[in-house]
């Protein structure tokens, strides 16, 4: 223990002043102008359970990204094999992100190897079994590359979601990766959680596909889908009855252009019905492609497909240059606005699933704050009154330590930009109960020593010294238990762990150091015959 009382008083004062410094923005929200530049801007950060908001845990289905990549690769590979004059029968995406194909000649294998080596370095042959005169080959993505791709998928998803949330306009969002394939999203103060979820979770894969008008749609609906075609549905609202129905389309499965070629997207009001639609503008490469595609397919229908749903399929009247297009559909204004946002932010590289959602409305949040503050005030009053009744002036000293403790907890929360949650408030209240324990230990020991006839000064010294080790032990075990909670808990519980840890450390300081300073000051400077304990 530092001997000089003066230095100890200085340390105590310095720490209390530092605590006040960090708490100024929390307690005085609007500082007058010359002052505000001297103080930190950070208020105590309230958890979602106190200020309201949404907590989401998303899982990125990276496997799907791998599968769609395999799907695209299989189409490309088919063309490469044809170009390379390699004879094959049936090439298709098989289960578990693999491509299966049947080579019909014995010379096919070396030729395939060569093509793979030169153009498809990501692929390797998983197995090949002789069949007839040729071979059945299964291709897969190299393990290392697959892991890399999955990682990229997560990063890309994270980036896309950040963009979307930024454009949606949420103050202080938190979007962080968690584990291998999860993303944790915290959106404080969100007003319309359903809309936010829609915005974040939508894959928003925009594709342009040609409608296959040569084959029969009815035949396809009966199950005879022509090779290279798919059936997709669009919704149609009957303008007179308002009833919604779904319309089937037979589409060429190849996407000619995707949302990746967009430069921007914005909401426009269509002249005819005053309905909002989303106008898109392609980037220069996209515009060139669009011009070529429309030029090659005049008189055919071009389907605009968003996440597998056909939004519209207008007939291409003529070659379209300039790279502009419109997505129409029966949107509300909000839907159109959100669609524009997701198109601008880009598609998610893989679908996401919501694993966990916790939404707290602002009214519940403010109720919780009020109840938490109420409980804290009443709880601390009970304890402080009890301490004064039981230990008199010494009890008052312990109470002062408790008050300093509360301020220190809040100040450290503000300084570390940690979050105060409802369980965190509970943790603070509990720390108050535990913090006085250190003083109870000391006071009981001092009383014991006084009973043996020691002077107040000596009894205090012995009491503090004897209780010291015990207090350290009890605090360390408390901190260890809280650390376990911190590492394994989720949001609000983490808040509980954080306040408890800070509270216990602060209590070591206030209960041992600060109260000792006061007692030492009193016993050294005032001639005390009897201790009020």
């Amino acid at each position: 223990m530092i001997k000089s009382l003066r230095i100890r008083i200085a340390i105590t004062a310095a720490i209390c002043l530092a605590a006040l410094y960090f708490l100024v923005p929390t307690f005085i929200p609007q500082l007058p102008s010359p002052w505000n530049s001297y103080f930190p801007k950070e208020k105590i950060h309230l958890g979602l359970d106190l200020q309201g908001g949404m907590h989401l845990v998303l899982e990125v289905d990276a496997e799907k990204a791998l599968e769609s990549m395999i799907e695209r690769t299989s189409v490309d590979l088919k063309e490469s094999l044809m170009e390379g004059k390699v004879r094959f029968r049936k090439i298709e995406k098989a289960t578990g992100a693999t491509i299966s194909l049947e080579l019909t000649e014995s010379s096919g294998k070396p030729a395939l190897d060569k093509i793979l080596n030169e153009q498809y370095s990501d692929l390797e042959i998983a197995s090949s079994t002789p069949r007839d005169s040729g071979q059945l080959v299964v291709l897969k993505i190299k393990d290392k590359r697959a892991i890399e791709l999955k990682k990229l998928t997560i990063e890309h998803s994270l980036e896309t979601i950040r963009n979307r949330v930024d454009q949606f306009g949420v103050a202080e969002p938190e979007i962080i990766p968690e584990g291998d394939n999860r993303i944790l999203i915290q959106l404080p103060g969100i007003k319309d959680p359903e809309r936010a979820k829609n915005l974040i979770g939508k894959t928003a894969l925009l594709e342009f596909k040609i409608v296959d008008d040569e084959a029969s749609l009815d035949e396809a609906l009966r199950g005879n889908i022509p090779d290279g075609d798919i059936i997709a549905y669009g919704s149609r609202t009957d303008r007179s009855t308002g009833q919604k129905g779904s319309v089937p389309y037979l589409l060429k499965s190849k996407s000619l252009l995707t949302g990746a070629s967009l430069e921007t997207a914005k909401v426009q009001i269509s002249d005819r019905y005053g309905e909002p639609n989303v106008s898109i503008k392609f980037n220069s490469q996209g515009a060139t492609d669009f011009e070529r595609i429309t030029g090659e397919n005049v008189r055919r229908r071009l389907a605009i497909v968003l996440d597998g749903v056909v939004h519209s399929a207008p007939v291409i009247q003529e070659k379209i240059s300039g790279g502009q297009a419109q997505i129409t559909g029966s949107f509300t204004m909000d839907e159109a606005r959100d669609l524009a946002i997701v198109l601008r932010a880009g598609a998610l590289p893989a679908p996401v699933n919501i694993l966990e959602e916790r939404t707290v409305g602002p009214s519940l949040g403010s109720d919780s704050i009020n109840q938490g503050i109420m409980a804290t005030i009443i709880g601390s009053l009970l304890v402080t009154i009890f301490m004064v009744i039981y230990y008199r002036l010494s009890g008052a000293v312990a109470d002062l330590a408790v008050v300093i403790n509360i301020f220190l907890i809040l100040a450290v929360l503000a300084a570390l930009r940690a979050t105060l949650t409802l369980p965190g408030i509970a943790g603070m209240l509990l720390t108050i109960g535990v913090a006085v324990d250190a003083n109870i230990l000391i006071f009981e020991r001092v009383r014991e020593e006084l009973r043996t006839g020691k002077t107040p000064r000596l009894a205090l010294d012995t009491g503090y010294n004897r209780a010291f080790i015990t207090i350290i032990d009890t605090h360390i075990t408390g901190i260890v238990a809280s650390l376990v909670l911190y590492f394994l808990g989720t949001g609000p519980i983490k808040g509980f762990a954080v306040t408890t840890i800070i509270g216990l450390i602060a209590s070591l300081f206030t209960a041992i150091f600060v109260t000792r300073v006061i007692f030492d000051y009193v016993t050294l400077n005032l001639n005390i015959k009897k201790l009020s304990i």
């Binding site: 959602e357 707290v360 109720d367 709880g379 009970l382 509970a426 080790i469 609000p492 509980f496």
Partner: protein, 304 residues
């Protein structure tokens, strides 16, 4: 004269009543286990089991039955509806809505149809089964880890037999608190888990204070019987043990009464844990230390 709850010269024969304490504890634990069996296991909240909770507050008088009726023929048909404060209800279902539009179709539309706009959805929690399974795993790890951490710390600071006493006391506290939670049919949530771990940290405190005294007294009177020393130490620290438990109890009580419905279950588990933790520090931890000592003594005799 200062105020004293416990008179300084107090000498209660705690060690002599160990037998009754052990029987009392065993009965409590059996009641707890019985309740868990009777309820067919713990009642896991959505944190662990997966599912959804929707907290709705109405601006006028509404009965649970009326809400149930309004939810008929939605996916929430089989949900349980529980009153949660004045005109406030919790709707729970095992279903976890990962689809974004589900909530609107299954809650908002039927409620609006039945009660027009006189309600507010105050909280929605949806936990998928995958996350639930993760939480279950984490919960078990958390409890075991905190036990182990305490065992290691107390074992390092004291002797192994003390640590063993402390840990058995912690098992005891956790078992009885879980029993109490089960008897009240409170949902086992992450908050309850946090309470359990706090109790582990709190209960070991009392134990450490008493064991510290035991160690000190053993050094002072190495010849004295351990049973007597333990008795002396418990009596010497009794006043502190009771005072501290009282202050913590008061704060938790404030939390239970004023902290609001969201945190009430947590506060309940804490209330039980604080009482049981104090009792176990005095009786269970010391009993084990004593038992262990007797065991070693009889072993040593046999060896001779």
């Amino acid at each position: 004269m200062s105020m004293e709850l416990i008179k300084p010269g107090i000498n209660i024969d705690f060690v002599g009543k160990i037998k009754y304490a052990v029987i009392f504890s065993i009965i409590l634990i059996i009641i707890g286990i019985g309740s868990v069996i009777f309820h067919k296991g713990l009642n896991p909240g959505i944190d662990f089991a997966g599912g959804s909770i929707i907290q709705v507050k109405f601006s006028k008088n509404v009965s649970a039955d009326a809400i149930r009726k309004s939810l008929q023929s939605t996916k929430l048909e089989n949900s349980t509806i529980q009153q949660f404060g004045a005109n406030e209800f919790l709707i729970r279902t095992a279903e976890s809505f990962s689809d974004q539009k589900m909530l609107a179709a299954n809650v908002e539309q039927p409620l609006t149809a039945a009660f027009s706009k006189d309600y507010e959805i105050r909280r929605v929690e949806v936990v998928g089964s995958k996350v639930g399974a993760d939480f279950k795993m984490k919960a078990v790890v958390a409890v075991i880890l905190s036990w182990l951490a305490m065992l290691i710390y107390v074992g390092w600071r004291f002797e192994f037999r003390y640590a063993l006493g402390g840990i058995v006391a912690l098992f005891h506290d956790v078992a009885i608190t879980i029993g109490a939670v089960s008897i009240m049919n409170i949902e086992f949530t992450i908050s309850i888990l946090a309470a359990l771990i706090f109790i582990i940290g709190f209960s070991i405190n009392d134990t450490i204070v008493i064991l510290d005294r035991v160690r000190e007294n053993v050094k002072l009177n190495p010849k004295q019987k351990l049973g007597d020393i333990i008795n002396l130490s418990i009596n010497q620290t009794l006043s502190r043990t009771i005072l501290t438990s009282l202050t913590v109890f008061l704060t938790v009580l404030a939390l239970y009464i004023f902290g609001g419905a969201v945190i009430r279950d947590f506060a309940f588990a804490m209330l039980v844990g604080v009482v049981i933790g104090t009792y176990s520090s005095v009786y269970i931890a010391c009993t084990i230390v004593l038992l262990f000592e007797n065991l070693q003594l009889s072993k040593m005799k046999r060896k001779k």
